[in-house]
């Protein structure tokens, strides 16, 4: 069900999530419907609870993309566990700044699976040797 923009949730070890979001704000000004969670401080149940709180509205659930730092890390395991029963949430690992900026640019206008394709592409193409 479509209800508003896609929510972005960044879950990482330590302060990476907060800092990534803060850095994105430095570049684009303000962001909306984006949340940072320090997953390494929380147990699985807490991560699940926070995600539920963020996506649940009085009447159904919002769409969301959850960005985790590291595929196979404890944040990614807790997130998979917390989101398996949410059909409108997608999880992407290996979050980087260009990916997050692309998300902020597209969260109001793109569909969920469409945005995931774009984010994967943007995140990956931004990893390159810089030499001119």
């Amino acid at each position: 069900m479509e209800k508003g923009c896609i929510i972005g949730i960044v879950i990482t070890h330590g302060n990476l999530a907060e800092e990534l979001l803060a850095t994105a704000k430095m570049i684009v000004g303000e962001t909306h419907d984006c949340y940072a969670i320090s997953g390494s401080d929380l147990c699985d149940e807490d991560v699940a609870r926070r995600i539920d709180q963020i996506v649940s509205t009085g009447d159904g659930e919002r769409r969301a993309v959850v960005f985790v730092d590291y595929f196979g890390g404890s944040c990614s395991a807790s997130t998979v566990r917390a989101t398996r029963s949410h059909p409108e949430i997608r999880v992407i690992s290996g979050v980087n700044l260009p990916m997050l900026l692309d998300f902020v640019n597209k969260q109001d206008t793109y569909g969920l699976d469409e945005i995931v394709d774009h984010l994967l592409h943007r995140g990956q193409e931004s990893i390159r040797v810089v030499k001119f």
């Binding site: 070890h13 147990c43 590291y70 595929f71 196979g72 890390g73 404890s74 990614s76 395991a77 998979v80 398996r84």
Partner: protein, 157 residues
């Protein structure tokens, strides 16, 4: 041979694969866990978490004990990983020989109190850890191999 017998409630994650894996270079991680081994997606999740650095074999506690006893892993260097004190004690009571257990991670949760920065346990878990200590096993609490080695035997009595 078992290079490391570790208790970690986050199971297979970066600290184990990269932190300990790069230091000790095992051939395989054996995760002995009844829940993970009986759930397809959890098995895949944790097997993927070890790759590409390491191979993970996910087994039930009984299967892990039987395969270890039968010598299946004798010619390999393995990490044996369980989720908590109860799981470790069960393996020991099945007959798994152990001199030392690395209590690498028991993270904060309702009811648990801190023993060291990375080890938190509730009363029931402390009682189990005491049982393990009574068997003459050393409990050392390092999250990572470079951490200072702290024996917690006296901290659970």
């Amino acid at each position: 041979m078992i290079l490391l017998f570790r208790i970690d409630d986050r199971l297979i994650h970066a600290q184990v694969v990269v932190g300990w894996g790069r230091a000790l270079r095992p051939d395989r991680i054996v995760l002995a866990d009844d829940v993970v081994s009986s759930t397809d997606w959890e098995r895949e999740l944790y097997a993927a978490a070890a790759r590409p650095d390491l191979t993970a074999t996910v087994l039930s506690e009984r299967e892990a004990f039987e395969q270890i006893s039968a010598g299946v892993f004798d010619s390999e260097r393995i990490f044996l990983l369980v989720r908590g004190p109860r799981e470790a004690l069960r393996m020991i009571e099945m007959g798994l020989p152990a001199d030392e257990i690395n209590v690498g991670g028991l993270h904060p949760r309702a009811g648990r109190r801190m023993i060291t920065e990375n080890v938190h346990a509730d009363d029931a878990e402390r009682a189990v850890l005491r049982e393990i200590v009574k068997k003459g096993i050393t409990l050392e609490a390092r999250a990572l191999p470079g951490d200072r080695r702290v024996t917690i035997n006296s901290k659970v009595v």
